[in-house]
């Protein structure tokens, strides 16, 4: 296996500066060899849109400055402009039924939602609450978002009581409780193949 490639992969995935010593450990080579691999990597990256940045003993991969405009734009994409349909759904569910944990939200949406929660947090539309439920953080719509809608509280949302307490929602959340109960039970009785989904 090529060490420059491996180091590139590590730096790419880490998305933060790492010390050369740490890189050497992760690649199971001496620091000198890691240093040599970095020089090699640097040379290869001349033709690429990214480059190696050094600061003291630490290195990281960053985009080349000539692409700054396009890069800025793609990062702005994430927090500006219209909400995607999945994001809108998650936001709505939190507005009507919040606070919810991520598994609860996913149970109602029926879709894995970690990226969406992250994005809604970045945009300041939802907040992580101080307390937790079953070891999971709870999320709620933010006060800023409510104010943006011209509401002073979620209870002013149309059909709030009806939609918040809807049987379908209560039922799927019950399933989730049941599932986690089953998981615990089957872990106890060691029936592991029953629980792998």
């Amino acid at each position: 296996m090529s060490i420059p490639q491996q180091i590139e992969a590590i730096l790419f995935a880490a998305a933060r500066p790492l010390s050369i010593k740490r890189l050497a450990e992760l690649s199971a080579v001496y620091v000198d060899d890691a240093e040599k691999a970095l020089v090699e990597l640097e040379a290869r990256l001349v033709d690429s849109g990214i480059m190696l940045q050094r600061a003291g003993n630490e290195v990281q991969l960053v985009t080349r400055p000539e692409h700054a405009e396009a890069v800025k734009q793609v990062l702005k994409d994430e927090i500006h402009g219209e909400l995607s349909r999945p994001s809108l759904e998650a936001l709505t569910i939190l507005a009507y039924r919040g606070p919810l944990t991520r598994p609860e939200l996913e149970q109602i949406r029926g879709v894995q939602s970690s990226m969406i929660l992250r994005n809604l947090m970045l945009r300041g539309l939802i907040e992580e609450k101080e307390d937790v439920r079953l070891g999971q953080p709870l999320y709620n719509v933010s006060f800023d978002f409510l104010r943006h809608l011209g509401l002073s509280s979620v209870e002013e949302l149309p059909k709030f009581e009806e939609l918040r307490g809807h049987q379908n929602v209560t039922d799927v959340l019950k399933d989730l409780e049941q599932d986690s109960q089953d998981d615990r039970d089957s872990q106890d009785s060691n029936v592991s193949d029953q629980i792998t989904v």
């Binding site: 790419f12 998305a15 909400l83 507005a95 300041g124 059909k159």
Partner: protein, 247 residues
């Protein structure tokens, strides 16, 4: 009497059927399928408690197809447009088999841990959220979206009820057949089938027949001169006590 293979674990009707065929080292043909029909039915019968209710009807559909195929061997004139339509069971099972072979390889790769990682995007969490309100969201829209989400949950929430309904229909049908057998010592299967209103009922009729034959309550014979299969209840007392619990 053919050797009866015990299949310990199966996922879905095609999986059970495939395992039965493979355990007898048979190719997937119409003939080999009818050959394992009885084993298939007894496996379903014995495992009915373990089969998730929402899947049971699919197991019964395959049973019905097998019985139909078998009946056709005895009685080529017996035709059912609806049971004939779509890909035949052998074709469906061959395709399923190819995917299961591919699945085995895929599982191997899955467990090998050769994962390709994307860049960690957690560092973005450290960014202070800047309030960026979406231009396309207003209060009525939230209400519409929430109603849509709730409506989408309905099939999931109702799944057990729908499954139970299908099962109950089949139970009723089997009970009805038992009743008719009690009053009629002898009648032809084809005439019974011809009274069925729709495909659902015909499938159920086949199943019911098969179940009763299996329990030796009735015998199915094809007389030489008639095209129909005669069905006779040969033990009416037993039939009266018959606890019909195919499902």
């Amino acid at each position: 009497m053919p050797v009866t293979f015990r299949i310990e674990k199966f996922e879905g009707p095609l999986d059970l059927l495939l395992q039965l065929i493979e355990s007898e080292k048979l190719d997937i043909t119409e003939i080999s399928l009818t050959g394992v029909a009885e084993q298939y039915v007894s496996h379903v019968h014995e495992n009915k408690g373990k089969i998730p209710p929402e899947e049971l009807a699919d197991f019964l559909v395959v049973a019905a197809k097998l019985v139909y195929m078998k009946s056709r061997l005895l009685l080529p004139s017996l035709e059912d447009e609806e049971l004939d339509e779509g890909p035949d069971l052998a074709t469906q099972l061959r395709e399923y088999q190819r995917f299961m072979q591919a699945a085995t390889e895929l599982n191997h790769t899955w467990n090998a841990g050769h994962i390709a990682y994307a860049r960690d995007n957690r560092p973005a969490r450290k960014l202070v959220p800047t309030f960026a309100p979406p231009p396309n969201v207003d209060v009525p829209m939230l209400c519409t979206v929430m109603e849509r989400v709730i409506a989408r949950l309905a099939p999931i929430v109702k799944l057990p009820q729908v499954a139970m309904k299908r099962i109950v229909r089949i139970q009723d049908k089997i009970a009805e057949l038992a009743n008719r057998l009690r009053t009629m010592a002898k009648f032809t299967f084809a005439s019974f089938v011809s009274k069925a209103k729709d495909k659902q009922e015909r499938l159920v009729s086949f199943l019911a027949l098969l179940e009763l034959v299996k329990q030796r309550v009735v015998t199915a014979d094809q007389s030489e001169n008639f095209e129909d299969i005669d069905i006779a209840a040969n033990d009416l007392d037993r039939l009266a006590d018959l606890k019909i619990e195919f499902v």
